[in-house]
């Protein structure tokens, strides 16, 4: 399992468009991709899961990757967070 601490850098946090992008990204991999927050797990392959995770600007979230392509999944997700989900 790979665990990453990722910071939400875009202004609006996990809003609808960002949720779509995260879900599209996570779904590209076999591995489980989930956020651990306040003792709960949120599946990032589910657009509702991303939204319920409700991460805001500046917040750091713990993301777990587990499966055959966990390294690649972690890299892709890290890049997406670093790119502020493609927002300016």
């Amino acid at each position: 399992m790979v665990i990453k601490e990722l910071q939400v850098q875009n202004q609006l946090g996990f809003h609808a468009r960002v949720a779509s992008r995260i879900t599209r990204c996570a779904s590209g991999f076999e591995s489980l991709v989930r956020v651990k927050k306040d003792g709960k797990n949120y599946d990032l392959k589910s657009v509702t899961g991303v939204m319920m995770a409700n991460a805001k600007h500046g917040e750091t979230v713990t993301v777990e990757f587990e499966g055959a392509d966990e390294q690649e999944a972690a890299q892709a997700m890290e890049a997406l967070f670093a790119d502020k989900f493609g927002e300016r």
Binding site: H15, R17, D43
Partner: protein
């Protein structure tokens, strides 16, 4: 029955009702859950297909942001939580799809509303939207077939895509129960020259599908099943209108020229890329005013640089080499946008609006400037600053533009040359026209605001409407002053307000040497015809006489005698 006139003109045709009916979602027990799940599967597949087509269309219409929001709905259809629970409920409780869809949509809306995040709270609208799509697909109702004969559309409200879909030839008129004068639908109707009445409360309850209707866009009257006499008077109107269009035909694609051979330009005022085909069809020689406010409305956050770039570049390309004047964001006044956080003001027209706001908010202003500079790589683009009242505002804006250009260069983004101009709409700018002309490449006179600011008379207040007249000598003197200052410095001057298309005033604009009139799309051939009838020297004489007038009435007499 009456409503508010949004677009003038008359139409007589059969009613075409555009209605969203609510589906029955009450629960009933099903024996064969397998069949029920197949039904859900089929409905979901159909929605996915519809959504994919819509998304594709939006990407082509240069609205990637809207496309991504629909993509969110597409993801919901595949979602383990949302769809998974619906499936689970159907299986476990042996219950019908409609109930399960409505039930879980409601639960999920409640969950979303409870989050402490306004951006997510607002997404309940998407849940409702996908719920309606699923329910509609489940009820197996095909999307209403498009009319084959001309119709008058009657609806609560129409989306821009519905207006476009109903199309040019088929759609003779629009009647809406709701609708606003500056709504997308109304703007499109105006640019397509389709008569439109809004605020006709209760019309849907009285009109039946296919019922003959007369829409009178002069009075706002809607006549259901009109009698023979009404139909006769409509035919007369229609014939007069046909003759008028016929006589205008030769002015559609012609070059704009005065009687003595001096060239002028007739441009169009537009708000969306959907209007570009109309501009070309009516023979607009360019766009003299692209209002960008609409792009910022009906959103949760300002459109980013890419979204704006996609739209502006689509318009530039669509204009096939004709010039495009983009006005930077003109917010405030009567146009409020919640996420910009402009607090309510006692005098919004004299308040924090347009360039005043933009200069203080680089995070909003700079992406727009960048998108405009980049779009200029595809064709001639000019940038226009609204609500300029002092020269230092122009200086600051130009600094911002230079800064953004440098940034784009570093980033390696392609840009094109962009000339910078100002709206002449405050009396202060008009007084300083000479100094402003030193700083910019062009002026565009916004006669609507200039008139209301000059006379300190609210244009939405009927009691002071008489002062708000384009025939007032004070206004004409100011316009003359602006034109003279512009020409002394070799700066082009245009008019993008309503006064530009007033038949009786056009000889004055010719006489003052205005270079370009930017008008509503359907007016282009008419304005060009008027210019064709004007001799520059005779118009100049008329201007001299009018400048000596001391009242609105005297000016009216002079110009009417001249015609």
């Amino acid at each position: 029955m009456k409503g508010t006139v949004a677009v003038g003109g008359m139409a007589l045709s059969q009613a075409y009702l555009v209605i969203d009916r609510k589906t029955d979602v009450s629960a009933y027990r099903v024996e064969k859950t397998d069949e029920e799940l197949q039904r859900l599967q089929a409905a979901s597949a159909r929605c996915a297909k519809e959504l994919s087509a819509l998304i594709e269309g939006l990407r082509q219409d240069a609205d990637p942001e809207q496309a991504e929001i629909l993509d969110f709905q597409l993801l919901l259809l595949e979602d383990e939580n949302y769809m998974g629970q619906i499936v689970h409920t159907i299986q476990k409780e042996q219950i019908n799809c409609e109930y399960a869809v409505a039930h879980h949509s409601r639960l999920y809306r409640e969950e979303l509303s409870a989050l402490d995040n306004p951006y997510l709270n607002e997404r309940v609208a998407d849940i409702s939207d996908i719920e309606q799509r699923l329910l509609q697909a489940l009820s197996c109702r095909e999307k209403a077939t498009l009319p084959t004969a001309p119709v008058i559309a009657v609806a609560q409200d129409l989306t821009p895509s519905q207006v476009v879909e109903l199309g040019h030839g088929k759609l003779e008129g629009i009647i809406l129960e709701k609708g606003g004068l500056s709504s997308h639908c109304v703007i499109l109707a105006r640019s397509m020259g389709i008569p439109c009445i809004i605020g006709a409360a209760g019309v849907l309850a009285q009109v039946e599908q296919g019922m003959p209707l007369l829409l009178d866009g002069e009075t706002g009257e809607i006549v259901l099943s009109p009698d023979d006499e009404t139909v006769r008077s409509y035919r007369q109107y229609k014939e007069a209108r046909r003759q008028e269009l016929c006589s205008l035909e030769q002015f559609r694609q012609a070059k704009t020229m005065t009687a003595d051979g001096k060239t002028m330009k007739v441009y169009a005022n537009i708000t969306t890329n959907l209007e570009v085909p109309g501009v070309l069809e009516q023979g607009g020689e360019g766009v003299g005013l692209l209002r960008t406010e609409m792009l910022y409305m009906e959103r949760d956050a300002a459109p980013d640089e890419e979204t704006q770039f996609a739209l502006y570049s689509a318009i530039v390309k669509g204009l096939e080499g004709r010039p495009l004047i983009i006005r930077t964001l003109d917010v405030g006044g009567d146009k409020s946008i919640p996420y910009l956080g402009i607090s309510p003001e006692e005098n919004p027209f004299l308040g924090y609006r347009a360039i005043r706001y933009c200069l203080d908010h680089p995070e909003i202003f700079r992406p727009q400037l960048a998108a405009i500079l980049r779009a200029a790589a595809f064709g001639p683009v000019q940038l226009m600053l609204p609500m300029i009242a002092a020269t230092d505002e122009v200086e600051q804006a130009k600094e911002a533009i230079d800064g953004v250009r440098r940034e784009l260069k570093e980033r390696g983004s392609a840009t094109g040359p962009v000339s910078v101009g100002v709206m002449m709409e405050t009396p202060a700018a008009a007084v300083m026209a000479e100094q402003l002309a030193e700083m910019v490449d062009f002026f565009s006179i916004g006669t609507n605001d200039l008139t209301q600011y000059l006379f300190a008379a609210d244009r939405n207040n009927a009691q002071v409407a008489a002062l708000n007249s384009y025939f007032q000598p004070a206004l004409l003197r100011v316009v003359e002053h602006i034109c003279r200052c512009a020409h002394e410095k070799g700066v082009e001057v245009g008019i993008c307000g309503q006064a530009g298309e007033v038949e009786q005033l056009i000889p004055l604009w010719v006489g003052m040497g205005v270079d370009e009139l930017s008008v509503s799309i359907p007016s282009i051939p008419r304005v060009r015809r008027r210019i064709k009838g004007c001799d520059t020297a005779a118009c100049r004489e008329l201007v001299e006489r009018v400048l000596q007038c001391s009242s609105d009435t005297e000016v009216r007499k002079e110009v009417e005698r001249w015609l």
